[in-house]
Amino acid sequence: MATVRIRAAEAGRELEAPAGLDRLRRALSRAGRSLLPFALLVAVWWAVEVAFRLSPTVLPSPWQTVSATWPLIQRGILPDYVTSSLTRMAIAGLFGVAAGVPMGLLLGSNRYVSVAFAPFLNFFQALSGIAWLPLMLVWFGFGEKTIQAVILYTVFFPVAFNTMIGVRTVPLHYAHALRVLGAGRLRLIRDVWVPGALPSILLGLRLGIAYGWRALIAGEMVVGAGGIGFLLFQARSFHQTDRIMDGMILIGLLWLLIDLGFLRPVERATIERWGMLQR
């Protein structure tokens, strides 16, 4: 009786096993295929380091670079800096969006106002936040405020500009249709402008976060109040090239985290939504 039941269970598993196994194999091979280039890169790096006998200040070996992370993690420097960089990005990003979207909606809701403000917002979007860094240093000194102000600026303008442009691209019929049915301005914003402008808002968000992340790194290098950029810059002053490499790899990984963990999911959700609107 018991054996029969086990047999049945096994049979069941066998039935579904190929699909599961296949999926696993496919996932593994996909992972392998995207990890292989990095393995080759590390191999080349190692070969260059060995072949040219480079000093560790010029090019540390991959192993040196990896082992340089341990003291950083043990002393809590790395977690501390990563948290402060990500927190800065999150706060400034949040405020940038919270201010940029309403501003874009406000300016976009009137044709003349949006025509008037298009070159203005475009100018300040094009004018990189990094260029404001020296002035912010004069205004706020070498501290948290300077970094926050620069990222906030960098996030706000692309979001505001693209929200405004997005609102203008929503076909007027939709707004007219709702107006005829007696909808107020709030209803219009909620049901027409925000959903209609969403693809454009997200384009602005992506641009703002991407520029903001770079401004953050540059700001931390210049200001020196902690953060990954500061880690890199401090390591350079002490000729700790292995730490510089660690910081760079970390910056790349964290951006991938922001991109794959936050921007892409949001985009996917809204691109689908956009598709629904098109249909």
Binding site: L40, S128, P134, L135, R214, G252
Partner: protein, 258 residues
């Protein structure tokens, strides 16, 4: 010029005029210090002072030379390697993940290493710009080449075309819209990387001008530099990159209707 276009320009000037008026009023009515917010007149005299000594021209030319050099190297390498990786699928599969990782690292993160390797100056700055621009162009070129319908390639092959014809008449024109958008967004990041690199890793150029000015609390000079940096980018983007992008997209349109 049509009436509508004139009206657009007229309206577009208004917010700038409003900002200028507000700036003037703040500096005129309140006793805000020169270091905090210099008046428009002070910024103008700082700008003309820098211009008359020739410093401003030198810094502008230095920065533009660096972005041109960095962009030139990135465009040649990006399109060349991108075509190679686009035509060879295994090579492309190998290089794309690396390109997307290095794109995430971003040019700015290379600043400390560039200083260690090349010292302060044009080589370091150009290296940083190339790191900000190259990977995007490369990435887009590969995607562009891959997006060319195979039937076009096969048509040219059937008619006896070799690799030269394929690249010149099929893959390069077919990938051009992708390449152009890669160049445009790449240069957007490159220009910002240039400013950051000059703040930290150079002793000349517009980025250095504003950073040096901040050490002496010369906000009039900082604002001069900021406005020039914004204006130059607007000129590059609106008069060079956008028209080029539009033209290639139009070209793509005609290619597609064939």
């Amino acid at each position: 010029m049509t009436r509508a276009r004139l009206q657009e320009i007229g309206l577009g000037v208004l917010p700038f005029a409003g900002l200028l008026a507000a700036w003037w009023a703040i500096t005129g009515l309140t006793h805000v210090s020169m270091a905090t917010l210099p008046s428009p007149a002070a910024v103008w005299s700082a700008a003309s002072g820098l211009w008359s000594t020739g410093d401003l021209q030198t810094d502008i030319l230095t920065s533009m030379g660096r972005i041109a050099l960095g962009a030139g190297v990135s465009i040649v390498l990006g399109i060349g390697l991108g075509l190679a990786a686009g035509l060879n699928r295994p090579l492309g599969d190998l290089l794309l993940p690396l390109a997307s990782f290095f794109n995430s690292v971003s040019g700015i993160a290379w600043i400390p290493l560039a200083i260690t390797w090349f010292g302060l100056g044009t080589v370091a700055v150009t290296f940083i710009i190339v790191n900000a621009v190259f990977f995007l162009i490369f990435f887009n070129t590969v995607l562009g080449v891959r997006s060319v319908p195979r039937i076009m390639e096969q048509a040219v092959r059937t008619l006896g075309g070799g690799y030269r014809e394929l690249i010149l008449h099929v893959f390069l024109p077919g990938a051009l819209p992708h390449i152009m958008s890669g160049i445009r967004s790449g240069l957007g990041f490159g220009w910002r990387a240039l400013i950051a690199a000059e703040l930290i890793a150079a002793t000349s150029g517009l980025g250095f001008l504003i950073y040096d000015a901040s050490n002496f609390l010369r906000s009039d000079r900082i604002l001069t530099g900021i406005l020039i940096i914004g204006a130059i980018w607007m000129i590059i983007d609106n008069l060079v990159l956008k028209p080029l992008e539009r033209r290639t997209v139009e070209r793509w349109g005609t290619v597609r209707t064939l």
